[in-house]
Structures are given as C-alpha cells and as structure tokens.
C-alpha cells in the first residue's frame, strides 16, 4: 500500500473516532467539540473572510520576518566561518541565544516597538536568525577541502573562490538552515500573535478561547498544523532532497 493511502486511512479513522465519540457523548461538547462543529466554525470563518484576513496577516509577518532572518543569518554565518575572533566571541553568544525560545524577547520588543507588528516581526526574526547562522557557519566550515584545492589549481582564489566554490558547496547546509529557520519562525510567530493584537491566526485562537468558542480554537489549531506540515513537506523537504541528490550526498 502506498504511504499516501495509509495516511488517508489513518486520518479518516481518527476523524471517525472523534465523530463517534462526540456522537455518543464520550466527552462533553464544551471540552472537545465534534468534528462537525469544528467544520462549521471553519466554514463560517472562511465565509466571512475573518480567517482569510488572519492567514494573510500571519503570512505577511512570517515572510518579512523569515526573509530578514535568512539575510542576517547568512551574513552572520559567513562572518563566523571566516573570522576566528568573531566565532570565539559572537559565536558563543549565538549558541546561547539559539538555545532559548525567541518569545522571551517579546516583553523587551514591546517596550522598543510597541504592542504591534514591529514587536511580533522582531520575535519572528530572532526565531529564524540563529539557526540559519549556525547552519551557514557549519556549511562553510565543512566544504570539502579537495574542492578548494582543485579550484586553486584552476586559478581561482579570494573572492572568486568564495562565491564560485565555497558558497555553492555549502548550499545543502543553507537549505537545511532555511528549513529550520522557517520552522522556528512559524512557532515564534504563533507565540507572538497569541500575546498581541490582531488580526492573525494566533490572535484569533486566543480570542476564540476567551469567548469559549472551542470549535474555532480547534479549527485554528488545525490550520496552524496543516500550514506547518504543508510548507515543510511540500516545499522545503522537496528542495532539500533535490539538493542532497544533486550534491551527491544521497543516492
């Protein structure tokens, strides 16, 4: 049986179990709403466009934040890989920053940028930057020395060697870095939105929770999960697999 078929059967069974449980009142509707209520909540949300606005607002923040974090992360990674002093100093700080969830920056960000877009985007940027930095650094440091030797015998050195050989050779690490940066940025975005003003998926989740609309809470949770899985598997894992194959790191 194909994995896709297995997956379909699994999710169908899960929803069936959920529906039957709600039907026979194994749990109360206020604790876990039935799949039909969740479906209705989602349909209503999309019909009056509130969920569409939420998605657009969330993606806007994510794209801005992710783009900035990839740029800063790449630049910082190159710096750490090329300068021993930077690696010994800034590098140790990046390692420390990477190990904490970026949402802890929110109180400070709200002081600096106010309770709005700026603060959330700042948290998203911090979420993605450091994992990208560390991957770019590792990628550049792990370039096969043979490529560098070969390039030098072919008259390449300095800036040409760096951009034409070292950077392309580290692309597999750059792609993995971007995938992880996306995952961290997505988590940071949801955390940030839960704690701030709307619109946005996280904001709607908290709003629905405040008003006891559990069907919408679950609906938004499903959207967040589906978006996360789809972007990861359909975009990033596919690119990563192609790159690994082309770069001869996987047969």
């Amino acid at each position: 049986m194909k994995p896709a078929v297995k997956r379909l059967i699994f999710f169908a069974a899960l929803i069936l179990f959920w529906g039957l449980g709600s039907h026979f009142e194994l749990w109360h509707e206020t604790i876990l709403p039935s799949p039909f209520s969740v479906w209705d909540a989602l349909a209503a949300g999309f019909a009056d466009l509130t969920l569409v606005y939420d998605l657009v607002a969330s993606f806007r923040r994510l794209l801005i934040g992710l783009a900035v974090s990839l740029l800063i992360g790449t630049a910082l990674g190159i710096l750490l890989a090329r300068s021993k002093t930077a690696d010994d100093t800034i590098g140790s700080m990046v390692l420390a920053l990477q190990s904490v969830p970026s949402i802890i920056w929110l109180p400070l960000a709200m002081m600096w940028f106010g309770l709005g877009e700026g603060a959330i985007i700042f948290v998203v940027i911090l979420g993605g930057t450091f994992v990208m930095t560390l991957n770019v650094r590792t990628g550049i440091k792990n370039v096969n020395p043979l490529y560098i030797k070969a390039a030098r015998t072919m008259g390449s050195n300095g800036i040409d060697l760096f951009w034409k050989v070292i950077i392309p050779a580290s692309i597999p690490y750059l792609v993995t870095g971007a995938r992880l940066a996306w995952a961290f940025a997505w988590r940071a975005l949801m955390a940030g939105e839960l704690l701030s003003a709307g619109p946005g998926l996280g904001y709607t989740l908290r709003y629905a929770s405040d008003f006891g609309n559990m069907a919408l809470v679950i609906g938004v949770m499903i959207i967040i999960g589906v978006v996360g899985a789809v972007v990861d598997q359909l975009i990033f894992q596919r690119i990563e697999k192609n790159v690994l194959k082309r770069w001869g790191l996987e047969s």
Binding site: R152, M154, G155, G248
Partner: protein, 264 residues
C-alpha cells in the same frame, strides 16, 4: 635537452605537536625535460604526493626551489593542471560547466563551451556534457577531471594516483586513453603512483622513492617500445629490477596494495 621542471634541494620537515621534527622529504633533486612522462613511484609515506603538491603550489617546501618553465613556483597556477585521486568535480555544475570553470576569465562562454566539447571528445564523454557528476561512474568522473585540466592547456599535467580508486578494468582502459592523450598533446606529465605495473606501462622514466625520510633511490629510463603490453618479457624484467631496488621498502608497498585490494 631543455629542462622544463627543475626540483632543487627540496626538503620538507613537519613539526608535530610535541615539537618533534619529521623529515618527509630530504634533498630531492630532479630535472624533467619538456614532454616527458615521468612516474614517481614509492610506498605510502615516502612523500611522493607532497612533492607533487609542491609542484602544484598547494604545499610549500621547508627549503629548496621548484622551477617550472623558468619561473619559481610560489602559488598554484593554470600552467600546472592537477588531477587528484578523487575527481574533485563540482557537484552543482554540469560536466560542461565543470570543464569551463578554469576558462571563464580567459575567453567568452561560446569559445569556452567549444573548447570543453573538444576535450570531452578527447576523453570520449561528449555525450555526457549536460549530465551532473553524480550521474556518472567513478571512471567517467575521472575522465571529466582530466578533460578539465587539459582544457586549461597547462604546461604540465600533475596526476596524484588518479586511477587508484577505480576498478581494474576501468583503470586499464584509462591507461590506454591517457597514453593516447599524452601522445596527441605532448604534455609533460608527472604521475604519482604506488603501482609498479602502472608506472612501467605508462612512463618514459620512473623515479623510485624510498621512505622515512623520502629520498630518490633510483631514476630509471624506460626504453621498452609502446604499447608496452606487447613486450611482456621486458616489462617483467623491469618489474623485477624495481622490486629488487625497493627491497627494504617492498614490504610496505605490498602491505599497501593488499590493503587496497581488501578495501575493494
């Protein structure tokens, strides 16, 4: 005869962590005329690859000079093409893009592609111009690597056990191709190997090196007519002579070849 490569009093001493000096090469002197196919033969640890790397300009000597075509070697340059044991092709580039890599700055793209085609034809891979390295076998990759070096039109081709990682049949076929390329292009070739048979089959001259420290223990002109396969007796006689010369080193050579066979 015009001395094309002059290796003068080369020493290489590594200092390890405990400040012990390890002499890798000691007073190496060699003069190689233009167009010669020279093999440097020796067991592992004799510093033959280090010596080649110095001619390429990738490694510096502790003392002594290497002069190629009148100029002292300071750094790598396109006048010395290098083929490594692994093909060292860039995996993100197609075969053609790999071959034109060293030509980018010297000519326009069209000329470079034309030139790449010529040299890919020479190694019989013109049908694979658009393929990526991971789609080729090890032997094919090594042929692309040879084409890439030849495309720069180097004065000398340096080869560091280029066929060491290939299977026997492929190696034997590539020996034939390399011999033909050498005859057609008349390049000076310095070929590092640990295989006595390989050195006899290919070269005009065999420089035999001993180990610890690396020194030249014999310099043999090979005057067997080509193709050498047709002169089995002379080849076997020379093989035995070199075996005898290496005597003390021979156990190391055999150990290395056994280890190599075992790895395959």
């Amino acid at each position: 005869m015009y001395l094309f490569i002059e290796i003068q009093h080369i020493d290489k001493i590594y200092t390890d962590k405990d400040n012990n000096a390890n002499t890798v090469l000691e007073d190496i002197n060699l003069e190689i005329p233009k167009g010669q196919f020279v093999s440097i033969l020796g067991p592992s640890g004799c510093g033959k690859s280090t010596l080649l790397s110095m001619i390429a300009g990738l490694t510096s000597a502790s003392s002594g000079d290497i002069v190629v075509d009148g100029a002292t070697v300071q750094k790598p340059g396109k006048d010395r093409g290098m083929v490594f044991q692994e093909a060292a092709l860039f995996p993100w580039m197609t075969v053609t893009e790999n071959v034109i890599f060293p030509l980018r700055k010297d000519m326009n793209k069209k000329q470079a592609v034309e030139r790449a085609r010529h040299f890919l034809q020479m190694v019989q891979l013109s049908n694979y111009a658009g393929h990526y390295p991971h789609e080729l076998s090890g032997g094919m990759q090594q042929r692309v690597s040879i084409a890439r070096s030849l495309a720069m039109d180097p004065a000398v081709l340096l080869m560091d056990e280029p066929f060491g990682a290939l299977d026997e049949q492929t190696r034997s076929r590539l020996h034939g191709q390399l011999e033909k390329i050498w005859i057609d292009t008349q390049k000076t070739i310095v070929f590092v190997t640990h295989s006595i048979q390989e050195s006899i089959k290919l070269s005009d001259r065999i420089v035999v090196m001993g180990t610890r420290p690396g020194t030249v223990i014999a310099d043999i002109e090979v005057d067997i007519p080509r193709p050498r396969d047709a002169h089995k007796q002379q080849v076997t006689a020379l093989e035995e002579r070199i075996m005898g010369l290496l005597k003390g080193e021979i156990d190391k050579v055999i150990d290395e070849e056994l280890a190599y066979e075992a790895r395959r």
